[in-house]
């Protein structure tokens, strides 16, 4: 059956490049209308939406941070009242974790992984589109609730009983819990796509030991998502059930337990940090070699360290609960395991330093951010070692010391590499370079502003200032440092402002970038910038870890894929030997409708348990529409 079809179908074998580009473009490009945009499934389009949306949430979250800094600049300020402040810090945390950090890292994966492994689209592109719409709905839900003064006010950790049925009146905690469901649903969907893309869609010859380090980090991140996110989804659902239908999970009087919440939350919450951090170190391991023009030192140890981090991530959740009165044995175990995570982190840092030492650094903006990352992340890592000690933590837990620590880890350790990554891949995504001058400005402003803002918080914490307080009394000796921090925050914000101005300007007026402006080694630089909808004219064949640094001017490729349907190559898991030609789904509006149906069901279920029953019907209908074969070329086999 397939033999006749194949002979009649159009393949790329005897076409010249221009004709091939034309035919591929016709097959892969999306429609330009409004509904065409809604129906898009191109991983680059989706990822760009994800990134832009996540950065919008970053700006909004940053505004909240600024508002909190204004409030805290002086004792007993009345700029924001207690109720609003509690909403704001909850929003800031939830927004930054669930609507910015995780989505933006996954979005970078969605953009880069298919390009780096040499395929034409991510696995399950419609699921990808669905995940974006669901994520957007979750974000809008949270921010509308904030506008309506019904935003969650229980902290991004939402400890029961404060968030539980008795003390969390109204729907505020439910909004938080359901926002979690939205974002985790999208995160899980993306994780599935990344795993399958990395395992099955690599270019021929890209065996496991030739995968770019960014892809390795994204693969480990995806597995951490898969293992960790079910915990928080289970938890947010049980919270809503406790609040809506009266289950007793967190009611000590009926056999429940409030600490169950904390165990479940941190079983997810600690890996969450690595979900954000692993992609960031992957970016560092990718950017650094380019700017020293030398392959990374110690590829294998770095991969091992990534995997070890992913595994260890699940063994140290209890260090967030060191003051709940645990048995000593458990405390000692979790101290040791929390300390142990420093070893894989150390391995990576030493490998980066060795790479820097052995190469010749080119001080462009991305490298500056990477160096800033190393400086600040080492501080964050060392303070992490400090809080891993139970007795040390007894004094600094839930103080500004911890606030300083995790901002060093999350901003220094993840946002710096992310900005480095934006500077680095912006030319690929838009075809235009960002400004080097503004880049340097933004680096120095962000770096200096960041350290001036967050370093003094360590001292405040040791001086006894607890977290999550909307104000403090004039007799406390915290006023001066708080004012200093608030003023420094302005420097930090101006740095981000310069960055965003640079992005906006460069997007429309930047210098054209060309294929490989940085002379980098990975596959995403082998095509035009921005990449065409089909990514690769012909799928590359890989025979080295750094395919573009082989000294040859020619890229070995595979030919024989069809051009009349969306087709890509499936390869084996370990050796990446070609196994099959697989079709990739066409654009479809069904994921959008499915996301709408899912959103309706999820939001409705805050108010009535019957939403699960009746709301599932539209979801089932949209899913059937999504998967029902349309008798098109992609359906052939």
């Amino acid at each position: 059956m397939t033999t006749e079809r194949r002979s009649s179908a159009a393949t790329d074998v005897d076409l010249d490049d221009a004709e091939l580009d034309r035919q591929l473009d016709r097959t892969w490009a999306g429609r330009t209308s409004f509904w065409g945009a809604i129906a898009a499934v191109d991983h680059k389009v989706i990822a760009r939406r994800y990134i832009v949306t996540a950065f919008v949430f970053l700006i909004l979250g940053g505004m909240l941070a600024l508002a909190m800094r204004i409030q805290l600049a002086q004792p007993e300020a009345r700029f924001i009242n207690a109720d609003r402040y509690n909403q704001i810090f909850t929003m800031h945390g939830s927004n930054m974790m669930f609507l910015f950090a995780v989505p933006v890292m996954e979005a970078m994966a969605v953009y880069l992984v298919p390009l780096m492994v040499g395929t034409r689209n991510i696995a399950f592109p419609r699921l990808n589109a669905f995940s974006y719409w669901v994520f957007l709905a979750g974000g809008i839900l949270l921010w509308i609730s904030f506008a309506l003064d019904t935003a969650p006010d229980v902290g991004w950790f939402a400890y029961v009983p404060l968030s539980g049925p008795e003390y969390g009146s109204g729907k505020r905690a439910d909004v938080w819990a359901q926002m979690i469901t939205f974002t985790e649903l999208s995160a899980l969907a993306v994780a599935v796509e990344i795993v399958v893309t990395v395992l099955k869609q690599r270019a021929p010859g890209m065996s496991l030991d030739r995968i770019p380090l960014l892809v390795w980090s994204m693969l480990v991140m995806a597995f951490v998502v898969i293992m960790a996110m079910p915990a928080i989804m289970f938890e947010s659902s049980t919270l809503i059930m406790d609040r809506l239908v009266g289950t007793q999970f967190y009611n000590p009087a009926e056999g429940g337990d409030v600490l169950l919440w904390q165990h479940l939350f941190w079983f997810f919450g600690h890996p969450e940090v690595y979900i954000i951090f692993l992609p960031a170190v992957g970016m560092v391991s990718t950017i650094l070699p380019t700017f020293v023009q030398r392959p990374i030192f110690g590829y294998l140890p770095v991969v091992m360290a990534l995997i070890a981090t992913g595994v260890l991530a699940f063994g140290l959740w209890v260090h967030h609960m060191f003051v709940i009165g645990l048995p000593r044995l458990a405390e000692s175990f979790f101290t040791a395991s929390s300390m142990a995570i420093a070893i894989p982190a150390g391995v990576q840092i030493f490998c980066w330093l060795a790479t820097l030492w052995a190469g010749r650094p080119i001080f462009k903006t991305p490298l500056l951010f990477v160096i800033g990352f190393i400086i600040t992340f080492v501080i964050g890592g060392l303070t992490g070692v400090m809080v891993a000690s139970v007795p040390f933590d007894a004094q600094v837990h839930d103080t500004y010391f911890v606030v300083a620590h995790f901002h060093y880890v999350l901003i220094g350790g993840a946002v710096f590499p992310l900005i480095a990554g934006i500077y680095y891949w912006f030319p690929k995504m838009t075809g235009r370079m960002m400004s080097e001058r503004l880049g340097q400005w933004s680096f120095w402003l962000i770096f200096v502003g960041f350290n001036l803002t967050f370093f003094p918080m360590h001292i405040l914490g040791l001086q006894g200032m607890p977290r999550r307080i909307y104000t403090y009394q004039p007799e406390m000796p915290w006023g001066g440092l708080n004012l200093f921090i608030s003023l420094s925050a302005v420097i930090l914000f101006s740095g981000f402002l310069v960055f965003f101005i640079d992005v906006a300007r460069s997007w429309s007026a930047g210098r054209p970038a060309g294929q490989n402006p940085w002379n980098a080694s990975t596959l995403e630089w082998a095509m035009n910038s921005p990449p065409p909808p089909y990514n690769f004219r012909r799928i590359p064949v890989v025979d080295a870890r750094d395919p573009l640094w082989c000294g040859s001017d020619e890229l070995p490729v595979a030919s024989g894929l069809r051009t009349d349907r969306r087709e890509l190559l499936i390869s084996s898991v370990v050796e990446a030997l070609p196994e099959a030609r697989e079709s990739s789904p066409r654009d479809s509006v069904w994921p959008f409708w499915a996301a709408i149906a899912t959103s309706i069901m999820l939001i409705w279920s805050i108010f009535s348990p019957w939403a699960i029953v009746w709301g599932s019907i539209p979801i089932a209908i949209t899913l059937i529409g999504w998967f029902w074969p349309k008798g098109i070329a992609e359906d052939e086999s």
Binding site: A82, D83, N86, V154, Y159, P161, L162, Y167, P252, D257, V258, L259, F297, G298, V323, I324, G325, R328, M339, A342, I343, I349, F350, L353, A354, W357, R360, P361, I371, I375, V378, L382, T383, V385, M386, S389, V390, P391, F392, A394, Q395, V396, H397, D398, T399, V448, N451, F455, P456, H458, L462, G464, P466, R467, I469, Y470, T471, Q473, M476, P477
Partner: protein, 330 residues
């Protein structure tokens, strides 16, 4: 700039200066132990950071003349350096773990404490119950405790609503108060003084205004204070105060507050039997003066929005009388 930013906390650490509520201003047995651990760990980490930064600067700035001599031997040398660094990391980490472990061992709650205080944390104040084998000798107070210097005081921690955390940094590390569970903490003040503490686990709207004071004093003063606290509320003689007492009983106040020796026996709010003897009111919000008492009674919802004390409509005279009565309850 970096060095300045780094050396600043070190200076602070070394000078040991802290403030009214600081982990570095240690006066309790536990806190002193923790402070030495903190200094040890921070100093170690500081040295590590400096070394890493020196290597970073060297890697970035070193002169690179021509081609690397022998790539193979270079690679071997780097491998040795990196392995050595990883091994050093492992060693330091183990050292810190062991230090942490031994500090933890020194922190175990005292087996036979000299006295026991039960804490019931509520949104947003602290109820303290001084327990005694003789129930008649036990008494309640709020937001302020006195302890004798040099005695091991067991604090039994309970919560009556959400999770709170008991933290008096100058005396000991923090410990959570969890509904449905009981935790224990031992306080042992080595020097007399007034130590401020604060709730350290987010507990809702007025989490920021949930402070407590521990007053450590010599045995004799403590005994005097305790016997004064066991007494019933003073019977007023001055007409203004008598009127204040009558008002207190007639109006909404008595439904939520207890004043032992009167018919006021509400339990929703703090025990006011000896309110006049406390240093602050409203969980550390205001210094305890007649003026601040009057301001608090007149409009608690402006001073601490969302707390559980309603605005009781009172005329100016009534306010003066009630605050005089409160002030008289030494």
């Amino acid at each position: 700039m970096k060095t300045a930013a780094i050396s600043l906390p070190l200076l602070l650490l070394l000078s040991g200066c802290g403030g009214v509520q600081s982990a570095l201003d240690a006066h309790g047995q536990t806190a002193i132990l923790l402070k030495s651990l903190i200094i040890f760990v921070v100093a170690t980490c500081f040295v590590v950071w400096i070394i890493v930064m020196l290597v970073l600067i060297w890697s970035l700035m070193r002169r690179r003349d021509g081609q690397a001599a022998d790539d193979r031997s270079l690679h071997r040398r780097i491998t040795i350096a990196v392995s050595g660094a990883v091994a050093a990391t492992a060693l330091i980490i183990s050292g810190l773990t062991i230090a942490s472990f031994y500090t933890t061992r020194g922190l175990d709650p005292a087996r036979d404490p000299d006295m026991t205080i039960r804490v019931r944390a509520q949104q947003w104040w602290w109820q303290f119950i001084y327990e005694d084998a003789d129930p008649a000798q036990s008494f309640h107070t709020a937001n302020e405790i006195h302890i004798p210097v040099g005695k091991a005081v067991r604090v039994r921690l309970e919560s009556s609503d959400v999770i709170h955390s008991f933290w008096v940094p100058s005396l000991a590390g923090k410990q959570d108060l969890i509904p449905g569970r009981e935790n224990v903490l031992t306080l042992r003040a080595e020097r007399p003084g007034v130590y401020r503490g604060q709730c350290a686990e987010f507990c809702g709207l007025q989490h920021s205004h949930m402070a407590l004071f521990v007053i450590a004093e010599d045995e004799e003063s403590y005994r005097q204070w305790a016997s004064a606290q066991r007494k019933e509320g003073l019977q007023p003689r001055e007409p203004e105060i008598v009127a204040g007492k009558a008002l207190f009983m007639a109006r909404q106040c008595a439904a939520c507050h207890t004043i032992r020796g009167t018919e006021a026996s509400g339990t929703t709010g703090p025990d006011l039997t000896h309110i006049g003897s406390r240093h602050t009111i409203a969980a550390g919000l205001l210094e305890n003066t007649r003026g601040s008492l009057a301001a608090w009674i007149a409009d608690p919802q402006t001073l601490k929005p969302g707390n559980n004390m309603p605005i009781v409509p009172l005329s100016a005279d009534e306010l003066r009388q009630i605050s005089a009565y409160m002030d008289s309850l030494k």
